[in-house]
């Protein structure tokens, strides 16, 4: 499996660290209610189909990226820098 790092190009999956769903980009305000924080920290969907995940190019440029892929076909559909992504 290879992921398209927007900075380095297509690289082997072993260079990346997997974090989880891109939900983590949407950090609630400090005073948001408990439900919002619970959803942010703990609750994730498990979709059959397209999903957006966070990966860290740990053994590469150090960029956090948002990868869109399909959990059914395993297709990797694209990636953007987390720095520029809004989910």
């Amino acid at each position: 499996m290879r992921l398209p790092c927007p900075i380095c190009g297509e690289r082997d999956r072993r260079e990346f660290y997997y974090q989880g769903h891109a939900t983590l980009l949407d950090r609630p305000a400090a005073d948001a209610d408990a439900g919002a924080w619970d959803d942010y920290v703990h609750n994730r969907d498990n979709p059959a189909g397209e999903t957006r995940d966070l990966w860290h190019h740990e053994a590469g440029c150090g960029a956090w990226i948002v990868v869109t892929r399909n959990t059914v076909t395993h297709e990797v559909l694209g990636a953007v820098l987390a720095e520029k992504a809004k989910s």
């Binding site: 499996m1 290879r2 660290y17 974090q19 983590l24 980009l25 950090r27 609630p28 305000a29 400090a30 005073d31 948001a32 408990a34 924080w37 942010y40 920290v41 703990h42 966070l54 860290h56 740990e58 150090g62 960029a63 956090w64 395993h74 990797v76 820098l81 987390a82 720095e83 520029k84 992504a85």
Partner: protein, 975 residues
């Protein structure tokens, strides 16, 4: 028997080898199985379950029977297929699964007991009583049934891994693969052509058919010559594509050398090949027919008989018979007669079969029995006229051909049944960007393969926006494939399907009868197709038998799933480069050599190696050395390498704001040239890590992390900056390895430093928690007045290239003032005496509240973990909170990992009050001390609790106390 003048290498040099201790001579270019057949050896192994005598069935990697062991000790290689083992001078091969010998195998009694050892036997018989399984049944079964054994020694040989990339990967170099590669290469595409054999050409090396008026092997050699001249083509022989994976990734195993290669020469290389397109030209495999006792040595596939004859010049018998349901019967007979080998009979199950040459033909006939325990002696043939016994030492069989669809199934593809060829063909688009050509999709004539290779490659290069070249199709035979269904023959005796796992027709019928009718259930109930050959020869026949037994058609019955790897892959090849230091490299400190010179035991801390203690000649235990080192620090001065701590250099106009966001306490208020302790939380409110961060300038900080969390924190900072706070102007870099850093601790620490610093320091210029640049013998370094021991202490850092020299200087100076080095053990005692936490305490489940630091979590700002840390459950007084522990009796020993109970309560989990995280013997206090967590701990100082360690059987009555045992006011560090 060798046939003079036949084979691709008729004048090859003699090669001597042994099999089960007997010496033989083969010929250069032979496989082990070819050389054994050339010497008249037909018995090559014993079967897995019944220990039936078995000979070689095939001439390729699908071989189920002829498995041998090669080599001794660490170089012992079991389950080598004799059909793929290249012969070399001195090769010593041994048979497997036979005792005391291949001819007189004692365990062959299993064969007599076979009526009791039917399918599902293990499940039915050995299930009860349960305890008997482990103690009795399993060892007996394991002893009786088996393949070759590993030596148990670590592998000594070299294995490699490698990566390759191409536009077009062509898998298989028979007629279809060669034409596909030529076509793709002429379009300008980067092409890799792989083939599992030592020589490319596929069936063209084993058949007598001509192409463009040339012999098959000559035509192959000419095409390979043309391919080899092209810069955009890579030819890989002895490389088996073992799996097809996502995004055009393929695993491939290359056999690089034989067992006699020097140890530094790779034996195998595991490739990961990435291809934009792939063309599967894997050919087809012949299948047997199930007739009674069809497994005797000397019975083999017709295609193998032709391969041994045409490629290696070996006649598999002196009076050969052929039994088939297709034209392979006649092709085989003609090849043998052409080479002067006697053909005793051709048995063709088709009523309308016509003789094509001078051989006795039995049409509409079947083989119903065979004789010859250790080697075939005769067969019984039945036709309309009656039965006929024919003497023969080799029976060539063909039940038809199965396209090698395996790789197309590796991503959940299911093959499609074809009534034309009575087998499965690949389903289109089973693997993205892969097309199948030639016999692998049921195109069985030579011309059909050549044409298919060209047309598939043209379509492939067109899809890559390359120009499709003009290429002529060579002239070749285009005989129709004529086959009539014949899966099994009636008659008494076992009709073997899966030769390697000893599954016969009755087993499959029994599975159906006991309602294991699904093909996947039948497979597991009978073990059909579950051996190392994955049932390459047998699965389709077994399916046909199951379909028949359940009254369904074969397409409805379906197939089992082929999974990677296509052939067995040694773990050594898959894990190449990942053993020893390849698995865990060693990180050495600049003080490493000096520490080793002083006989310090070096202990692993992650990948780092740190000195545990520095023993004196008079000391006999680690504890003596540790106690001395603690006393040296408390009374004089100690030096310790602390460079393993993570160091992150942080700069930028918003560096302070960034730190305020990642630490739960505040750093924007920290003055320049000052250090502050910081606590980091995870977003869920639990403690992530701690450390000190120094402000070297207005917009310049250097953060330290714990050794264990250095990588994790770097990743976390990257995350926060890029994903959560891209608005901040801040950059950082790990500088852990750029700086060597040493703790200098003890009452004489300033005195020691003043002996080496370019400018003197005092309490005014360097108060507690001060930091800044200093000169050390002309080198610019950094000095931090921080203490992890509670003593008046510093950490001094210099660029790593000066580390070894500074360590030597500090050691000399310290020893001149009754001080010395201290290691990790003493460091740990010093910090426990002072109640400082490490990851033993902040183990992932504790909060700032639990360690008494909840007031550090700023109320005035947002930061990572702030909101979630205020959840009620994380601030509950009943939570286990950090405490100190000391034994009520001074001489009692504490143990870490023990649990705490109210005195007198049963030591069971319901009564659990807490646990112990760190313990040590304190030479300063003269007894053991510990740190741990206890429910409502801070309100229970003075209370007695029972420490219970069920693992070490330790019960100690302890007093709960404040976790800071030494200098609780902190005056020493400030003084």
């Amino acid at each position: 028997m060798r046939v003079a003048g036949k084979g691709l290498n008729p004048n090859g040099a003699p090669v001597s080898f042994t099999f089960d201790g007997t010496s033989y001579t083969g010929r250069e270019g032979d496989t082990l199985s070819a050389a054994l057949l050339a010497n008249g050896v037909r018995l090559m192994g014993r079967s897995f379950k019944y220990h039936r005598p078995r000979g070689v069935l095939t001439a390729g990697s699908e071989e189920p029977n002829a498995l041998v062991t090669v080599g001794q000790g660490a170089r012992q290689d079991p389950n080598i297929r004799a059909t793929t083992q290249t012969l070399y001078d001195g090769l010593a091969a041994r048979s497997q699964n036979a005792w005391p010998s291949l001819k007189y195998d004692a365990m062959a009694v299993n064969d007599l007991a076979s009526p009791f050892l039917t399918a599902g036997f293990y499940y039915k018989t050995f299930m009860w009583p349960k305890a008997f399984w482990e103690k009795l049944y399993e060892p007996i079964i394991r002893h009786a049934a088996g393949l070759g054994a590993l030596s148990g020694d670590a592998v000594e040989e070299t294995y490699e891994k490698a990566f390759a990339f191409c536009d077009v990967l062509v898998i298989g170099a028979g007629p279809a693969g060669i034409m596909a590669a030529l076509t793709a290469a002429q379009s300008g595409a980067d092409v890799i052509l792989v083939d599992e054999d030592t020589q490319m050409g596929g069936r063209l090396l084993a058949e007598t058919a001509e192409i463009d008026g040339q012999s098959g092997p000559d035509w192959v050699a000419a095409q390979l010559g043309a391919l080899a001249k092209m810069d955009n083509v890579r030819l890989m022989t002895r490389t088996t594509v073992t799996g097809a994976y996502d995004q055009g990734t393929f695993g491939a195993l290359e056999q690089v050398s034989e067992q006699n290669a020097p140890l530094n020469t790779p034996r195998e290389c595991f490739w990961r090949i990435t291809a934009k397109r792939s063309i599967l030209c894997a050919g087809a495999l012949e299948r047997p027919i199930a007739f009674p006792n069809n497994d005797r040595p000397g019975i083999m596939l017709a295609s193998a008989v032709r391969a041994y004859l045409n490629r290696w010049g070996v006649a598999a018998g002196s009076a050969v018979t052929v039994f088939a349901n297709n034209d392979d019967a006649h092709r085989t007979a003609l090849d043998l007669i052409g080479a002067g080998v006697t053909v005793a009979a051709v048995i063709d199950s088709r009523e309308d079969a016509q003789s094509l040459g001078d051989y006795p033909l039995f049409s509409g006939a079947q083989v119903i029995a065979t004789k010859g325990r250790l080697g075939l002696k005769s067969i019984t043939v039945q036709d309309a006229r009656g039965t006929h016994e024919i003497e023969t030492d080799c029976l060539a069989i063909s039940g038809g051909w199965n396209p090698s669809v395996h790789l197309t199934c590796h991503m959940n593809g299911r093959p499609t049944w074809s009534d034309d060829i009575l087998s499965f063909v690949p389903t289109d688009n089973s693997i993205p960007d892969m097309t199948v050509a030639g016999a692998a999709r049921g195109n069985f004539s030579t011309l059909g393969c050549l044409e298919d290779g060209i047309s598939v490659a043209k379509a492939t290069v067109t899809s890559l926006d390359l120009k499709s070249p003009q290429i002529a199709t060579p002239a070749a035979e285009d005989d129709p494939y004529s086959i009539q269904a014949l899966w099994q023959v009636d008659g008494t005796g076992r009709k073997w399907l899966d030769f390697q796992n000893d599954v016969h027709v009755k087993d499959v019928k029994l599975a159906a009868q006991e309602n294991f009718r699904s093909v996947e259930h039948m497979k597991r109930y009978t073990t059909q197709g579950m051996a190392t050959d994955q049932g390459k020869n047998s699965n389709v026949v077994a399916l046909a038998v199951l379909a028949d037994a359940t009254g369904r058609g074969i397409p409805e019955t379906g197939t089992t799933t082929f999974r990677p790897p296509y052939v067995p892959v040694s773990i050594a090849a898959m894990g190449a480069g990942s053993q020893g230091h390849g698995f865990a490299p060693e990180r050495h400190l600049t003080s490493h050599n000096a520490s080793v010179d002083r006989n310090a035991p070096m202990v692993e801390v992650g990948l780092w190696y740190r000195a545990s203690y520095f023993p004196k000649p008079s000391e006999t235990t680690w504890l003596e050395a540790c106690n001395r080192e603690v006393n040296v620090v408390r009374n004089h001065v100690g030096v310790c390498d602390v460079s393993t701590l993570g160091k992150i250099d942080i700069q930028g106009a918003d560096a302070a704001e960034f730190l305020d966001f990642v630490y739960c306490n505040t750093f924007s208020s920290l003055k320049e040239n000052r250090v502050r302790y910081g606590l980091m939380l995870r977003e869920d409110g639990h403690v992530m890590d701690d450390g000190t961060t120094a402000r070297l300038g207005l917009n310049h900080y250097v953060m330290t992390t714990t050794t264990a969390a250095a990588g994790q924190i770097m990743k976390h900072l990257d995350w926060v900056r890029q994903a959560l706070r891209p608005d901040l102007d801040v950059r950082f870099a790990s500088v852990t390895e750029q700086w060597a850093q040493f703790a200098v601790a003890g009452p004489k620490s300033r005195e020691l430093l003043n002996s080496i610093l370019d400018e003197q320091i005092d309490n005014e210029s360097w108060p507690f928690m001060a930091c800044g640049d200093v000169g050390v013998a002309g080198v610019q370094g950094r000095l931090f007045r921080i203490s992890f021991s509670g003593e008046h202490a510093y950490e001094i850092a210099v660029p790593a290239r000066y580390g070894a020299s500074l360590f030597g200087l500090l050691t000399t100076q310290a020893e001149a003032m009754e001080g010395g080095l201290y290691g990790l053990e003493a460091l740990n005692v010093l910090r426990i005496e002072k109640g400082f936490i490490t990851h033993a305490e902040i183990h992932g489940r504790v909060t700032a509240f639990d360690i008494g630091f909840d007031r550090m979590v700023s109320q005035k700002k947002d930061c990572i973990g702030n909101t979630m840390s205020r959840r009620g459950g994380l601030l509950d007084a009943e939570r286990e909170q950090m405490i100190g522990l000391k034994p009520v009796e001074n001489e009692h020993k504490l143990t870490a990992g023990a649990h705490l109970f109210v005195e007198g309560a049963d030591a069971v989990s319901e009564n659990d009050q807490g646990y112990v995280t760190s313990v040590c013997h304190s030479p300063t206090l003269g007894h053991d001390i510990g740190m741990g967590f206890l429910k409502d701990g801070p309100n229970r100082y003075g209370e007695r609790v029972m420490l219970v360690d069920h693992v070490r059987n330790n019960h100690v009555l302890c007093e709960v106390c404040h976790p800071v045992f030494f200098d609780p006011e902190g005056g020493l560090a400030r003084g």
